[in-house]
C-alpha cells in the first residue's frame, strides 16, 4: 500500500476565496491510499515547503499530491524540493486548483466539487507513479558548423575561442558566403571584404577550427552530445596538403567558364579559386568544365605546370565520419530567380537589368570592372539608374509574401554609390515602403535622399528597351500619376530565398521548415536559435531574412548555446520518455515510423522461449533523442510502449477518478 500525502494550498485567497478548502481537505482524507492531508496558506513558500518535508518524515509518506496553482508554474519547484527528501522527485502530482478552478469559476459549491474531483484525479494518478531517474549521457565537446558564410564563421570562431574544437563545413571551395561578395556594408559604408576576409583568415588559422571546404553533410545520426556525422569531401583534384597556392595552374588553364563569384559577369578558369582572398587560398578543379576530366581533350596542362605536383586527376569523393556534441546550421540564402517569374521586367533578356548582388560586384574594386559602375552590355557608364525594390518580396502573387528585410537598406546604399561614383548621375528608387529599423539606418536613408536619390512610391509595372534606353513604367502612388523613366541600367533588389539544398540539411537533422522553406526555430520569441532537435542550432539567414548585424548576433547566440552544452561533462536526460516492454513488442516497427525524432530503432534481440533460443526483432528507444511526446504509445498495437510519467495506467486512473 502506498502512503499518499495531500497538501492543499490556499494561495492566499486566490484559491480559498472560491474553493471551500476545509471541505476539500475533508474529502481528500477518504480518498484511496491517502494517509495524511493538510492545508497551507502558501505551499510554495519556504515554510510551506518545510511543512511538506516534515510531513513526509513524520507520516512516512512515499508520494504526494499538491493542490495548488498550475503544474506549469511550480512543478519544477516542488520536484526540486523533493530531491532533498527521501521521496523521488517524480512521485508528485499537482492538482490545478487555481488557473483551472478558482480563477475561472464563481459558484463556490460547484468549484469546490470540481476541486475535489481534481484532487481525486491527482491522487489516483500518483498511486501509479514510479520513481524516475535522470540518466546522464556523455558530451562530445566538438561542434559542427554547417555553412561557411559570416554566420558560420562567427559561430565557429566563438565556439573555438571558448576552447572547443569546431569543424566548419562549406560546400563551395572557399569560406566567405555572400558577405565577401558585397562591396560596402550599410550604414557605416565600411568595406565588406575588409571586415569579412580577416574573419575568414582567423577561422582558417584558428588552432581549434578545422575548415572543410568543398564538403557537404551526407548523413547525421545520434543525438545531442553525440551526433555521428558523415561528411562528403568532394573531389577537388588538387592535393591541398602539398599545394602552396602559387596560382600557376590558374594562369595556364585553357578552359574559361563564367564565374559564379562574379555573378556571371566575368570568367574564371576550370581550375580556380573563387576569388583572390579565398580561404583556403588553394584552387580546385571544376570537373564539369575541365577539358581533361569531362573528356573533351587530353589537356592536363595544370598537372604538367604545377611545381609541387599536386594535381591528381584520379581524386575521388571521400566520406569522413566524426562525432559532434552540437551542430550549428548556417546555410544562408540565395536570391530568388526573378527571370523566371518577372516576364514584365524582360525575363532576363536585357543584360543591363541586373540584381543587387551583380551590382555589388560591379561596384566592388576587385570586381570585373574594378569598381567602376559600367553597363554589362556595352561597358558604358550609366547616367541614369533605376533601382526597383521588393522584386519577389512582398509579392505573394508572383514571388514571396514576406519582406526580405535588408533590401531597403542596401537599395539606399546602392543609390548612394551610384550618386557618389558617377558624375551627374540620376538615381530613381521605386519602393513600396522604406523600412529602416536598425541603429543608424534611418539616418543613412535620409542621407541618401540628401544625396539626391529620387524615391518613387510604387511598383515598376514594366521594363522594356527602346532606343538604347531601358524604359521603366510605373505609378507614383503618392501623386497618382503614371511615371516612365528612361534608364541606362536597372538594379532589381530581389528577394532572399533559402539556399538550394536546405531541404536536405533540414531532413538530415529533422528540423521543420516554414511555408517558405526557412528553417523553423523552436520558439519565435523565446527560443530563436534553437530547433526542435536538441543540440541543433540556427544561425543567420537560414532561419529567415536578416542583415549582417542580426546574422552575427544570432551566430554568437547559437555559439553561446553550444558552449552551454559543452560546459558540462555530461547531460541529464529527461526521464519522462518512452519505454519498451520487449516481452510484448511484436517488432512491427510502427512506432519507429511514427517517431518524429528518429528516436526509435529496431533491433534483433535474443530471447529464450520454451527453453529455446530465438532471435526476435524489437524496438528500442534512444533516451538521448526521445522527447517524450508519446505518439508511439498511442500507435503501439500490442501496447508494448509506454510513456514514463504519463503511462496508460496513470491516465486511465485519472479518467476513472474523474468519472466517479
Amino acid at each position: 500500500m502506498s502512503r499518499t500525502g495531500v497538501f492543499i494550498c490556499h494561495c492566499g485567497t486566490n484559491i480559498a476565496a472560491v474553493v471551500d478548502i476545509a471541505k476539500v481537505v475533508e474529502k481528500a482524507k477518504s480518498m484511496p491510499n491517502v494517509v495524511y492531508v493538510e492545508d497551507n496558506k502558501y505551499t510554495c513558500s519556504e515554510p510551506g515547503q518545510q511543512a511538506i518535508k516534515d510531513a513526509i518524515v513524520k507520516h512516512k509518506l512515499d508520494r504526494i499530491v499538491i493542490g495548488s496553482c498550475s503544474p506549469r508554474m511550480h512543478e519544477p519547484t516542488f520536484r526540486k524540493m523533493l530531491a532533498s527528501t527521501e521521496i523521488n522527485p517524480y512521485m508528485l502530482e499537482i492538482a490545478n486548483l487555481r488557473e483551472q478552478c478558482s480563477w475561472v469559476h464563481t459558484d463556490r459549491e460547484k468549484a469546490t466539487d470540481k476541486a475535489i474531483d481534481l484532487v481525486r484525479m491527482a491522487v489516483a494518478k500518483v498511486a501509479k507513479n514510479h520513481a524516475l531517474f535522470t540518466s546522464s549521457i556523455p558530451v562530445t565537446k566538438r561542434a559542427l558548423v554547417v555553412g561557411g558564410g559570416i554566420a558560420g564563421i562567427q559561430a565557429a570562431l566563438d565556439i573555438a575561442d571558448a576552447g572547443y574544437p569546431v569543424t566548419l563545413v562549406e560546400r563551395e571551395p572557399s569560406l566567405g558566403g555572400k558577405m565577401v561578395m558585397l562591396d560596402k556594408t550599410f550604414p557605416t559604408m565600411d568595406c565588406s571584404a575588409c571586415i569579412c576576409t580577416p574573419k575568414m583568415v582567423d577561422a582558417g588559422q584558428h588552432p581549434n577550427i578545422t575548415v572543410m571546404t568543398s564538403c557537404e553533410v551526407e548523413k547525421v545520426s545520434g543525438y545531442i552530445g553525440n551526433f555521428e556525422v558523415t561528411i562528403r569531401q568532394k573531389a577537388t583534384y588538387v592535393d591541398h596538403s602539398v599545394c602552396t597556392g602559387c596560382g600557376i595552374c590558374e594562369l595556364k588553364c585553357p578552359s574559361k567558364v563564367t564565374s559564379e563569384f562574379e555573378q556571371g559577369m566575368a570568367q574564371r578558369r576550370a581550375i580556380y579559386k573563387p576569388f583572390p582572398q579565398a580561404v583556403p587560398a588553394k584552387p580546385v578543379i571544376d570537373a564539369a568544365n575541365c577539358r581533361k576530366l569531362n573528356g573533351k581533350a587530353k589537356c592536363g596542362i595544370c598537372q604538367t605546370q604545377c611545381p609541387q605536383g599536386c594535381i591528381n586527376f584520379e581524386d575521388e569523393d571521400k566520406l569522413i565520419t566524426n562525432t559532434y556534441g552540437a551542430i550549428v546550421i548556417a546555410t544562408g540564402y540565395e536570391l530568388i530567380d526573378w527571370k523566371s517569374i518577372y516576364g514584365e521586367y524582360g525575363g532576363g533578356q536585357y543584360p543591363d537589368v541586373i540584381n543587387g548582388l551583380q551590382f555589388e560586384r560591379l561596384v566592388n574594386a576587385s570586381g570585373p570592372t574594378e569598381g567602376h559602375i559600367l553597363r554589362p552590355s556595352d561597358g558604358k557608364e550609366p547616367k541614369s539608374v533605376v533601382i526597383v525594390k521588393c522584386v519577389g518580396s512582398r509579392d505573394p502573387n508572383k514571388g514571396k509574401g514576406y519582406c526580405s528585410r535588408a533590401c531597403c537598406m542596401y537599395a539606399a546604399k546602392h543609390a548612394h554609390q551610384v550618386l557618389e561614383k558617377i558624375d551627374n548621375a540620376q538615381c530613381y528608387v521605386f519602393y513600396i515602403d522604406v523600412r529602416t529599423a536598425g541603429k543608424a539606418y534611418e539616418e543613412f536613408y535620409t542621407r541618401t535622399l540628401e544625396d539626391g536619390a529620387i524615391y518613387v512610391r510604387g511598383r515598376v509595372s514594366k521594363i522594356y528597351e527602346e532606343d538604347g534606353k531601358l524604359i521603366c513604367k510605373g505609378e507614383d502612388t503618392l501623386s497618382g500619376q503614371t511615371v516612365s523613366v528612361a534608364a541606362d541600367m536597372v538594379v532589381l533588389e530581389t528577394a532572399m530565398v533559402p539556399a538550394a539544398g536546405v531541404e536536405k540539411v533540414a531532413t538530415l537533422m529533422t528540423i521543420s521548415r516554414d511555408n517558405d522553406n526557412w528553417l523553423q526555430e523552436a520558439h519565435p520569441k523565446l527560443r530563436p536559435v534553437e530547433t526542435h532537435t536538441a543540440g541543433v542550432f540556427l544561425a543567420g539567414v537560414c532561419q529567415g531574412p536578416k542583415d549582417i548585424p542580426d546574422t552575427v548576433a544570432q551566430a554568437s547566440a547559437s555559439a553561446a548555446k553550444v558552449c552551454g552544452i559543452f560546459s558540462k561533462a555530461e547531460l541529464q536526460t529527461n526521464p519522462m520518455i518512452s519505454k519498451v516492454d520487449i516481452e510484448k513488442c511484436s517488432g512491427c516497427g510502427d512506432c519507429a515510423g511514427i517517431c518524429p525524432y528518429k528516436a526509435i530503432s529496431m533491433q534483433d534481440m535474443e530471447f529464450i522461449e520454451h527453453g529455446k533460443k530465438i532471435t526476435r526483432r524489437v524496438s528500442t528507444v534512444n533516451s538521448g533523442l526521445c522527447q517524450g511526446c508519446g505518439a508511439c504509445v498511442a500507435g503501439c498495437r500490442p501496447g508494448a510502449i509506454d510513456l514514463l510519467g504519463f503511462t496508460n495506467a496513470q491516465i486511465l486512473e485519472e479518467v476513472d477518478a474523474l468519472c466517479l
Partner: protein, 321 residues
C-alpha cells in the same frame, strides 16, 4: 481540325477582312468551322461594365447553343474580346453551381459548360494546323520583319485564358516564322491598345497606340500582326490618322490570317485587304519579291574535340596571358 465557330459582331462590320481571311485559310487547310446557329453578341465591354449577370448570360447563351448543336466541339473565336467573355462565362459556370443555375435561368436553356472555348490563334497554333499550313504555303514573306501584337485579352488574365505566356507570348511569332516572316523581339506584345476608350477618352487612349507603334518602329518592324478586330481597327485607323499629321510610321497592320492567306497565294481582294486604312497590300507584294532569306549555314559544329597537343598548347596559353 473541327471547331464550332463564333464569328462575333465585328467580323461582319469593322473586321470584315478578318472573317474573309479566316474562312479562306480554314478552307485551304481543311479546318472545319461550324458557325453557331442564331448566335448573339457576347456583350463585349458594355455588358460587363454594367451588369455581372448579363455579362455572363450573353456569352453563355452562345455556349449553350453549341451544346444544343451537339457536335461536342471546342469553340474557336477570332475576336479577343468575345474570347475573353466566353472564357469568363465558362469559368463562372464551372466554378460555381449557383452561377451556372442563374445563367440557365436567364437564358432559359440548359447549360452545362461542357465545351471549351479557344481563340482562333490557338487553333492555328496547334501542331495539326501548323503542319497543314506548312503544306499550303506557296509564297514566302522572305524575312519581312513583323511585330506580333497579341493585345491584352488573348493571354490575360492568365488564370482565365490559360493560353500562352502572358508577358512574352510566342504562338503568333511561330506562325509568322512558318510563312517566312521574321518576328521582331519587341516589348509591347501584350500592351493595351486602348480598346473602346479610343472613342470616349482619346486623350488618355491615343498615347497607348502611339507608344505601341513607336516601339514596333524602334525595333525595326515593317508590319504589325494582330489577332483581334478592335486592336486592328485602333492601330490601323490611328496610324493613318497620325500619319496625316506627320508622316511618321510606315507599318501596315494585318490580321495573322491575312498573312497566312497571302502566303497561300490568295488574291488580296479575296481577303478584303483593300479595306485597310493604312495601305497594306504593297508591303506584302514587295516582300514576296525580295530575295529569299539565306538560310544561314549552321556553323560547322565546333564539337570536334579540340585536340590539345601537350607540347604546344601550354605556350599558347601562356601567350594569351
Amino acid at each position: 481540325m473541327k471547331y464550332s465557330y463564333y464569328p462575333g459582331c465585328s467580323l461582319s462590320s469593322t473586321g470584315l477582312e478578318y472573317g474573309l481571311s479566316t474562312r479562306y485559310v480554314a478552307k485551304k487547310i481543311g479546318m472545319e468551322l461550324h458557325e453557331i446557329p442564331d448566335w448573339n453578341c457576347c456583350g463585349a465591354t458594355a455588358a460587363h461594365s454594367m451588369n455581372h449577370d448579363l455579362a455572363l448570360a450573353l456569352p453563355a447563351r452562345n455556349l449553350a447553343l453549341v451544346e444544343k448543336q451537339g457536335l461536342g466541339l471546342e469553340i474557336a473565336i477570332p475576336c479577343a474580346a468575345c474570347y475573353s467573355r466566353m472564357k469568363y462565362a465558362i469559368q463562372a459556370a464551372r466554378s460555381s453551381e449557383k452561377e451556372r443555375q442563374k445563367i440557365e435561368e436567364i437564358i432559359e436553356m440548359p447549360y452545362e459548360a461542357k465545351n471549351d472555348a479557344i481563340c482562333l490563334l490557338e487553333a492555328f497554333a496547334r501542331e495539326d494546323a501548323q503542319a497543314a499550313v506548312k503544306e499550303k504555303i506557296v509564297k514566302s514573306l522572305n524575312g519581312l520583319k513583323v511585330a506580333s501584337y497579341y493585345g491584352c485579352l488573348l493571354v490575360r488574365p492568365a488564370g482565365v485564358t490559360q493560353f500562352d505566356d502572358n508577358e512574352n507570348p510566342q504562338s503568333m511569332d511561330n506562325l509568322m516564322t512558318l510563312i517566312g516572316a521574321k518576328p521582331v523581339n519587341w516589348a509591347f506584345k501584350t500592351e493595351c491598345c486602348g480598346a473602346s476608350h479610343q472613342v470616349d477618352a482619346p486623350k488618355v487612349a491615343r498615347p497607348l497606340i502611339y507608344n505601341i507603334l513607336r516601339n514596333a518602329k524602334a525595333n525595326g518592324a515593317e508590319a504589325i500582326v494582330t489577332a483581334c478586330p478592335l486592336c486592328m481597327m485602333n492601330l490601323d485607323m490611328r496610324e493613318f490618322e497620325f500619319n496625316k499629321a506627320k508622316k511618321e510610321f510606315d507599318i501596315p497592320v494585318y490580321y495573322f490570317t491575312e498573312l497566312l492567306g497571302m502566303a497561300m497565294g490568295a488574291d488580296p481582294k479575296e481577303l478584303g485587304m483593300e479595306k485597310h486604312f493604312t495601305p497594306a497590300v504593297a508591303r506584302i507584294k514587295e516582300a514576296f519579291k525580295r530575295p529569299p532569306e539565306e538560310e544561314k549555314p549552321i556553323k560547322k559544329a565546333k564539337a570536334k574535340v579540340e585536340e590539345v597537343k601537350e607540347e604546344e598548347k601550354p605556350k599558347e596559353a601562356i601567350d594569351n596571358e
